[in-house]
């Protein structure tokens, strides 16, 4: 046990410093072989289907005149602003609501447990039916929402897809509807991982709900919260289906986001390089988010 345990206990740096010859004749040699074999499918996957396409994309989008064309393009400016607003609004709203709701679902009531089962339905439902349904709900006078508003309250609902900000808001709400349950469950698991004795101790000290939330839940879940917000923002920026199916870019392509614009340029406009350029132009925003994400995840592993 001792030698192997020392290697494990000493951690990665110590393993690295071992002279290469020590790996070969004994267990370590075959161990290294096994470890490399285990990681090979993963590495092959990443190289063939991620790294190679990324390099190819950089090569396709390497022409600077493409970006000059984008800057001159009014559709591009609108799409960039829409993407930023959508990601900022939807990611933050979704995380905050999910954090609060996870507290609600922690309550031990049978009906709350039953509600949680129903609450997961939007997550279980595939994205396309969900967004198609939202599209038909909001389609105007014939849509469910406006006709229900009229029948129930006598209110004439707006034409949801005739105004840019309203249509973009519909996209955001649809996206939130689809993914809120997922993040609620993530935070629910995070809250369950908090040792219950902390809350018991706080109870004995007379701390109320708000204090327990601020002084136990918030500090322990901050890291998870930041990681999730970053991930959600990244996923929203890369999401095609919500905008494409709910508003479809209406009115007059004013609610397009970078993801839909890129695909439309490449496949409908037969200009793949311009499409790639649209997507590459999002990288200056995306890479910092990913760096924060990776730092945060590293930090947590050090803490553990």
């Amino acid at each position: 046990m001792s030698t192997r345990q020392q290697v494990f206990a000493a951690g990665p740096a110590a393993v690295d410093r071992r002279p290469p010859s020590r790996w070969h004749p004994h267990l370590h040699g075959s161990e290294l072989g096994w470890a490399l074999a285990f990681v090979t499918p993963y590495a092959a996957m990443v190289l063939a289907f991620a790294a190679y396409p990324i390099l190819y994309a950089l090569w396709l989008g390497g022409d600077f005149s493409l970006y000059a064309a984008l800057i001159a393009d009014p559709h591009y400016a609108k799409a960039a602003l829409n993407t930023a607003l959508l990601a900022g609004f939807a990611a933050n709203t979704m995380m905050f609501v999910a954090l609060l709701l996870s507290g609600f679902f922690m309550r031990r009531r049978w009906w709350i447990k039953a509600l949680l089962v129903v609450w997961m339905l939007p997550w279980a439902l595939p994205a396309i039916p969900a967004f198609v349904s939202f599209h038909w709900m909001l389609i105007g006078d014939y849509g469910f929402l406006d006709s229900a508003l009229w029948v129930l309250f006598g209110i004439e609902g707006p034409q949801w897809f005739n105004e840019r900000w309203l249509a973009l808001g519909c996209d955001a709400v649809s996206y939130i509807w689809k993914w809120l349950p997922f993040w609620t469950l993530i935070f629910l698991a995070g809250r369950m991982a908090v040792p219950p004795d902390l809350y018991e101790a706080a109870d004995i000290d007379g701390a109320g709900v708000v204090r327990r939330f601020l002084h136990i839940t918030v500090p322990l879940l901050t890291n998870l919260y930041l990681i999730c917000t970053a991930l959600a923002a990244i996923w929203i920026i890369g999401d095609f289906a919500a905008v494409e199916l709910v508003s479809g870019g209406a009115p007059a392509r004013s609610t397009e986001v970078l993801a839909t614009l890129s695909i439309h340029y490449a496949f409908d406009g037969s200009h793949p390089a311009l499409g790639v350029a649209v997507a590459i132009s999002a990288l200056p925003v995306l890479i910092p988010i990913v760096v924060i994400l990776m730092r945060r995840i590293d930090l947590r592993e050090v803490q553990l």
């Binding site: 289907f49 396309i128 198609v132 999401d239 790639v276 995306l286």
Partner: protein
């Protein structure tokens, strides 16, 4: 009860009633919020002709008709000609994505997290970078490269794409989850002469099973629900998945919308069933993580 308790009681009770009423109200709002789009789908699908979507003030439609569901199941419209074939394709893509994601991610995170293959740690981090690239940026070069790999109009190209999207998150979850499993278990098995493969198979896989179930479900739902790549990579109707088939209705001005919604509902049933079948398992895994961590 002592005196203090009695004195505090009325205030406590009022507060408790308010809290209960508040959470009941919140529960009702959440219920309506979660079910409304699903209900809208049902309303349209049950409409006898074309899918009139207006709400007339009645909770249930006047003459609900299962005609649209029959049309889908019997492929009784030229939009639905290849329904069963496409349904099978969706299943094939979903299941293979699930199996491959679980297998590749668990092997990689075992090597990195348990065997301490440190150089692979950098690899895990670079895989996170996959998230930095919007699906749309990768879509254009991906479509071209799969043609170069000889996979144009081939479901395997779609499977590769879905596995690639599911894997970084799967690796993260697994590495996180595996920290609650003591390394001493691995070491004890190794001293008894178990090979790394045996440790992986007999210790790592069973103990991470709840996380694997969660990852597998995640990968399956992702592959079943994703549509951009399926739409771009599959060109012939026989190779389409159901996701692409639903999208085709949008290209027409006058399509049978009730059939489209029926198709969408049928398409939603398998992932929902699998999700709810594995839900307890997933919940058990999550709480176990909490108790042990």
């Amino acid at each position: 009860m002592n005196g203090g308790g009695v004195r505090r009681r009325p205030r406590c009770r009022l507060r408790r009633i308010l809290v209960e009423a508040g959470s009941a109200l919140l529960g009702l709002v959440l219920l309506i919020w979660a079910l409304l789009p699903v209900y809208n789908m049902l309303l349209i699908a049950l409409d006898p002709d074309e899918g009139e979507t207006e709400f007339t003030g009645i909770i249930w439609p006047d003459e609900p008709s299962l005609n649209s569901f029959r049309a889908v199941l019997t492929e009784d419209h030229w939009y639905l000609e290849n329904f069963w074939r496409q349904f099978g394709n969706s299943f094939y893509v979903g299941l293979l994505t699930m199996v491959l994601t679980v297998l590749i991610a668990s092997l990689a995170s075992f090597a990195v997290g348990r065997m301490r293959l440190t150089k692979a740690r950098a690899l895990t981090n670079t895989a996170l970078l996959v998230y930095a690239i919007p699906a749309a940026l990768l879509a254009i070069p991906f479509v071209r490269l799969t043609q170069r790999y000889g996979l144009s109009d081939n479901v395997w190209a779609v499977i590769a794409a879905e596995v690639m999207f599911a894997i970084p998150f799967a690796v993260l979850v697994l590495q996180q989850y595996a920290t609650i499993i003591p390394l001493e278990l691995d070491e004890a098995a190794r001293i008894d002469g178990a090979s790394p493969l045996q440790v992986y198979w007999h210790i790592y896989l069973p103990l991470t099973a709840p996380a694997l179930a969660a990852i597998g479900t995640y990968a399956l739902l992702l592959a079943w629900g994703e549509y951009l790549y399926q739409y771009l990579l599959l060109s012939s109707a026989r190779n389409w998945t159901v996701a692409v088939a639903i999208e085709q209705f949008f290209d027409a001005d006058e399509a049978p919308w009730n059939n489209m919604m029926a198709l969408a509902i049928i398409y939603s049933l398998p992932p929902i069933a699998i999700f709810y079948a594995l839900r307890r398992y997933m919940a058990a895994g999550l709480t176990m993580g909490g108790v042990k961590g």
